[in-house]
């Protein structure tokens, strides 16, 4: 059974098309990451799934509801962790969590949720006094206090220090053991790689690739970068393609068929009694794949 089904979704703001025909399915219990640069349309897409925005056309079913008309029965089953705040600063952490809990039919106990995000020591502190990272953890707490079936995490670790980031990842992993479906947006490739079962890369309002962290963009079939160093005085004459000598001595070439390329290269080297210093064969990183997929939209 699918938690989310989207077909031919389009969202336009006047002349500007933010989502240009997206179709996707997210299975129950799956951690699904939407990866894309800023302005790619991922926030628009997620906000349509959350019921915050109206779509221009296409069909959307989230937990069997049309988010635009789902109302309370729909909202009682989803948890939203927002990207940019929306917290009353004059409430205490415990009050904010208890308040959110009281809006839902089945909620986790407030102290349990506060402990889950590691804010026990701040339970009585005013929200306005929290650090950026603590604030994000509180938002995480508010997103899960209602024990939702589907959780939206919009860039959940933006602004976290590395330790808090690890902690948040642990929490997301803990959530998945409860069998929760999680839809995650992020522009961190490592985050998607660590957390997600499936990744969709979105650019210019379209999904340009979809797959598991290992198969995304045919990464496992994409060949590899072969690299080595030729010692000074060694003649590069007869070096088999695609390799070509460079002034630094380092030779580097992407190989669609690394097995055959290596065979040719090593045969050339052994026939001349040459040792290839620092020979390495590196498959493309997820980052390489991502940058290739999103093209010039990529933000560093």
């Amino acid at each position: 059974m699918s938690a989310v089904v989207v077909e031919n979704l389009v969202k336009r703001y006047g002349e500007n098309t933010a989502v240009a025909g997206v179709s996707l399915r997210i299975a129950e219990g799956e951690v699904f990451a939407l990866l894309g640069p800023n302005g790619a349309g991922k926030t628009s897409l997620v906000e349509i799934l959350e019921g915050h925005r109206r779509r221009t056309s296409g069909t959307v079913a989230v937990l069997g509801h049309d988010p635009e008309h789902g109302g309370r029965p729909f909202r009682e089953r989803i948890g939203i962790v927002l990207q940019d705040g929306g917290l009353e600063e004059d409430l205490s952490v415990a009050e904010a969590v208890a308040y959110h809990a009281s809006l839902y039919p089945r909620s986790r106990p407030t102290p349990e949720v506060i402990a889950l995000v590691g804010l026990e020591e701040k339970a009585r502190a005013r929200v306005g006094t929290l650090s950026g990272g603590q604030m994000r953890r509180l938002e995480l707490a508010l997103g899960i206090v209602s024990d939702p079936d589907l959780i939206f995490l919009d860039e959940p670790t933006t602004g976290f220090d590395p330790a808090a980031r690890r902690q948040a990842w642990e929490l997301v992993r803990a959530l998945r053991t409860f069998g929760k479906t999680i839809v995650l947006t992020t522009h961190y490739m490592d985050e998607a790689q660590h957390l997600a079962d499936r990744i969709a890369v979105i650019a210019r309002g379209r999904i340009v690739a979809e797959g598991t962290p290992t198969t995304l963009g045919d990464r496992h079939r994409a060949g590899a970068m072969v690299r080595f160093h030729l010692a000074a005085g060694v003649s590069p004459e007869g070096l088999p393609p695609p390799f070509a000598a460079a002034p630094t001595g380092w030779v580097e070439a992407p190989c669609g068929n690394p097995t055959a390329a290596l065979h040719g290269l090593t045969a050339w080297a052994t026939a001349r009694g040459i040792e290839l210093d620092g020979l390495s064969v590196v498959p493309p990183s997820l980052e390489d794949v991502y940058l290739r997929l999103v093209g010039e939209d990529a933000t560093p």
């Binding site: 969202k11 703001y13 500007n16 933010a18 800023n38 302005g39 349309g41 926030t43 628009s44 959350e50 019921g51 915050h52 925005r53 109302g71 309370r72 909202r75 009682e76 989803i78 939203i80 927002l82 940019d84 705040g85 929306g86 917290l87 009353e88 004059d90 409430l91 009050e95 308040y99 959110h100 009281s102 809006l103 839902y104 039919p105 089945r106 909620s107 508010l142």
Partner: protein, 274 residues
């Protein structure tokens, strides 16, 4: 907990949160509850216990109800507009839209909180007037004063939501509320009692707006020279009549509700594509 919370319990939860937030924000509490009281002290000291202009009552007997109206209006209009726009800008409204709390229940709770705070403002003001300056409260006009209060606060809360709907951001909102409320307070028998020397056109101009009607209808309950319970349509012969005033406020309030419902936005404008 099993089953969805009832609308009544959601309303109650939200009302308590709103009141808690209000009293934790010292500036808001000061301007709604304390500032009008300071003005009463100043005016009563300036004018002593002499008779005020056309009304023939003491300064405190005029200013306590007039400034009580000012306190109620600054709560319902000024505070509500600013706090709703701030909540929108901080994303509080958007967050609430993502929860099962129905928007109508949220708005009802906010209006109820404003009404309660406005009631406190009035009670504090009249109480202080009675204790410190011997202001007289008349039992036979209390019902009319209460009706005036409810319609007046409702009208100004709706106008506050109109300001919240048209105000582009939290910086602009105080300017919009001040620029409308303060000048009207000077010509609407709130800061200055009615006087024979004021040009007639100024009074007629003020009659177009709801503030003067709120002040007149409410202050009338404290004017010993008027007679009757207040539930009358005509003030001929010195009768205390809230009817026409309540009608004007109800008309303003109705139009304001329609405009606010049409134009209200839960997210900061403009809707951006991201």
């Amino acid at each position: 907990m099993t089953g969805s919370p009832t609308l009544a319990s959601l309303f109650w939860t939200q009302l308590r949160i709103e009141l808690r937030l209000f009293f934790r924000s010292p500036l808001q509490a000061f301007f709604s509850l304390i500032f009008p009281l300071l003005m009463l002290l100043v005016f009563a000291t300036l004018f002593g216990n002499g008779r005020m202009g056309l009304l023939g009552v003491t300064a405190a007997q005029f200013y306590a109800p007039a400034l009580a109206v000012y306190g109620a209006v600054s709560t319902a209009y000024w505070n509500l507009a600013i706090s709703v726009v701030t909540a929108r800008e901080l994303g509080v409204l958007k967050r609430i839209r993502g929860t099962p709390l129905p928007p109508s229940v949220y708005m009802a709770a906010r209006l109820a909180a404003s009404t309660w705070i406005a009631f406190l403002a009035i009670a504090i003001m009249i109480g202080a007037g009675v204790v410190m300056y011997g202001v007289t409260v008349y039992a036979h006009t209390l019902a009319a004063a209460a009706v005036t209060f409810v319609v007046g606060v409702g009208c100004f809360a709706a106008l506050g939501l109109v300001i919240a709907s048209i105000s582009p951001n939290a910086k602009t909102t105080p300017a919009l509320t001040s620029a409308t409320l303060l000048p009207l307070s000077f010509i609407s028998e709130v800061f200055i009692p009615p006087s024979a020397s004021a040009p007639a056109w100024l009074g007629q101009f003020a009659d177009l707006f709801p503030l003067k009607h709120f002040a007149r209808a409410f202050s009338g309950a404290f004017n010993p020279s008027l007679h009757g319970s207040g539930f009358a349509w005509s003030d001929a012969g010195g009768t205390y009549a809230i009817g026409p005033h309540v009608a004007v406020m109800a008309a303003w309030g109705t139009v304001a509700v329609v405009v606010a419902v049409r134009r209200f936005s839960w997210e900061p404008r403009p809707e951006k594509s991201r």
